[in-house]
């Protein structure tokens, strides 16, 4: 992957102009001049987002053929198809940014297989029951909406436009997920147990979704993101928003938040909760050693390798035309 440079070449007058545009709240378009570290940071962020949408199809894919009713089969298929569509949309945005660097979509896929390009932590987790599919639809999509709503104000216009469309669809997904969760939560004892089990299983991953808390120490990466207005909130702020929104909803469904210590601190106006083990992100997930990391990478690779002949054939046609 492209290692972002931390230093900004401030002697270039264009950098100052660019920063002024950002300060004024202007949006940057693909053909505008931009500092290298802005471009690289965007590529890293958007490629990871795009590839995560695509890898995110795999845990849900496991349940598409098994979805319980005709209606659920239809809606889950539609949902997973949307996610792959989001992946496509985002990868197109990343491709345009990579173009001046002579990089293509194939490079992204190669980076995914080699481990240089990460996919989101939640998609490394197992989804052993139908209730996991419901929970992913509700809370993983719910968490994604929290992050994406913030990113929709990003300074890079093509990303903001893609996100606006994605958020619209994600809202439907969250309703769809909520509907599946309600059916289970209001269902038989067996169904309620399935649902609670899935929530217990996913809770640490959902908290990790937003990344480690900053505790006052903003990393250089984030600093670039915030200075360039690529993003506007910290990990912890986003996690608090998620808890604000979903803890009451989880309880309203008669489910238990699997954290005995969680409470809302009225004076500080924030949630106090048991933090998951964030080192797991760095030591396990980031190395693609999560419970289903290799399986899902392997599926992607099988699809890629088995269809090489198709891509070659298409390329052959293009050459014949040109």
């Amino acid at each position: 992957m492209f290692k972002p440079e931390i230093t900004i070449h401030s002697d270039d007058p264009r950098v100052q102009e660019f920063l002024e545009r950002i300060e004024n709240g202007e949006k940057i378009e693909v053909d505008d001049w931009m500092p290298d570290d802005y471009r690289l940071q965007l590529i890293k962020l958007i490629a990871m987002h795009g590839i995560s949408e695509i890898m995110g199809a795999f845990p849900e894919k496991e349940w598409v053929p098994k979805a319980p009713t005709l209606k659920r089969k239809l809606s889950l298929m539609a949902k997973v198809q949307d996610e792959v569509g989001h992946g496509q949309l985002l990868i197109r945005v990343a491709e345009d940014l990579m173009h001046p660097l002579g990089k293509t979509r194939e490079d992204l896929i190669e980076d995914l297989f080699s481990g240089r390009l990460k996919f989101h932590n939640v998609f490394h987790m197992p989804a052993p029951s139908w209730a996991d599919a419901a929970l992913i639809g509700w809370l993983v999509d719910g968490a994604a909406i929290v992050t994406q709503k913030m990113l929709a104000h990003t300074s890079y216009a093509p990303y903001a436009r893609a996100l606006k469309r994605i958020i619209l669809e994600e809202r439907f997904h969250a309703y769809h997920g909520e509907d599946m969760v309600i059916a289970l939560g209001d269902g038989t004892e067996q169904q309620r147990e399935m649902m609670q089990d899935a929530l217990n299983r996913w809770w640490p991953a959902l908290l990790m979704f937003f990344g480690p808390p900053e505790n006052g120490e903003i990393k250089s990466n984030q600093e670039i993101n915030i200075r360039y207005k690529i993003r506007s909130k910290t990990n912890e702020e986003l996690r608090q928003e998620f808890l604000d929104k979903y803890v009451p909803q989880i309880r309203a469904l008669g489910l238990e938040v699997p954290d005995d210590n969680i409470y809302y601190d009225e004076t500080k106006k924030q949630w106090v909760y048991t933090h998951p083990d964030y080192t797991y992100l760095r030591d396990v997930i980031a190395k693609n050693q999560g419970p289903r990391s290799q399986n899902r990478l392997n599926l992607r690779k099988i699809g890629f390798d088995n269809n090489e002949w198709v891509r070659e054939a298409l390329l052959h046609n293009q050459k014949a035309i040109s």
């Binding site: 005709l70 067996q190 099988i302 088995n306 052959h316």
Partner: protein, 275 residues
């Protein structure tokens, strides 16, 4: 002039007609259910992202067609649509062998070794047949079925077109692509005859004006398939062998039983529950 039945209630007045009609709609619904199930196993494994989106959209539409047809059966008093799709015994399913075949070897979650060449040709064959059958169904004596066929056909046009484009793109490309498509045609041909079989009530289906004969469907199919192969420089395999066993009589493969177990696994945990 065959008698038309305008509503499920009218059809229910005539037991023999009703039995024949049910037999036919199960063939239509089960065909779509199984091919869509196989499509859903392909999710995330297509040659490129754009194809993943397109193929899963087709799969989703097709599951929608199956749902419309099971609902027709529900209106005819046969049972709840979801029960019909998920709870029948394997020998009660009426789909053609071609649509139940596995996509390749391996499990869809672990190690799927799927052949996109077979996906192209099998789906092309099924969609071509489905178009011909839908055109005939638009004249069906059961008016709600004719209306449903018209609705389905509007979407189905694009499904057939999709697989035709793949054939056009690949047939004249590399030697390997051509070889794979020809192999896939051979493999499809092992089961293709299963499509034209109208099952044990085939004669009544035709007499009642529900659908034209399997012979007619087959002739139209073969003419169009052959033309496509010849225009694409692919090898026309000739007349397919007649089959000794038929899915329309409820005789299915092991692969079918696996598929059925998968697609009904969750629903069967508690069919009374709301999912």
């Amino acid at each position: 002039m065959v008698k038309k039945y305008n509503t499920p209630e009218e059809a229910k007045q005539d037991q023999q007609y009703l039995d024949t009609l049910k037999e036919l709609i199960f063939q239509l619904a089960d065909d779509d259910l199984l091919i869509s199930h196989r499509g859903s196993e392909w999710l995330g494994l297509a040659p490129h992202i754009e194809e993943d989106v397109a193929y899963s959209s087709i799969t989703q539409n097709t599951m929608g067609h199956a749902a419309m047809l099971y609902e027709l059966l529900e209106e005819l008093g046969v049972g709840k649509a979801d029960d019909l799709a998920h709870l029948r015994k394997p020998e009660e399913y009426r789909n053609a062998r071609l649509v139940e075949r596995v996509n390749g070897t391996g499990d869809y979650k672990e190690n799927p070794d799927y052949d996109f060449g077979y996906a192209i040709i099998r789906n092309y064959a099924y969609e071509l047949f489905k178009k011909i059958r839908l055109e005939a169904l638009q004249q069906s004596s059961f008016v709600p079925l004719a209306d449903t066929a018209r609705k389905i056909k509007r979407e189905q046009y694009y499904h057939l077109y999709h697989w035709e484009v793949w054939i056009d793109q690949l047939a004249h490309s590399t030697d390997e692509a051509q070889k794979r498509l020809n192999n896939a045609i051979q493999k499809t041909w092992e089961d293709v005859a299963s499509l034209f079989d109208l099952g044990p009530k085939g004669d009544q289906i035709v007499e009642y004006g529900l659908l034209e004969s399997g012979e007619m469907l087959k002739k139209k199919f073969m003419d169009q398939f052959k033309a496509k192969m010849e225009n694409s420089g692919l090898i026309w395999p000739g007349e397919p062998q007649p089959l000794s066993e038929t899915g329309r009589e409820g005789r299915h493969s092991e692969e079918f039983v696996d598929a059925l177990n998968h697609l009904s696994e969750v629903y069967k945990m508690d069919p009374q529950a709301s999912w």
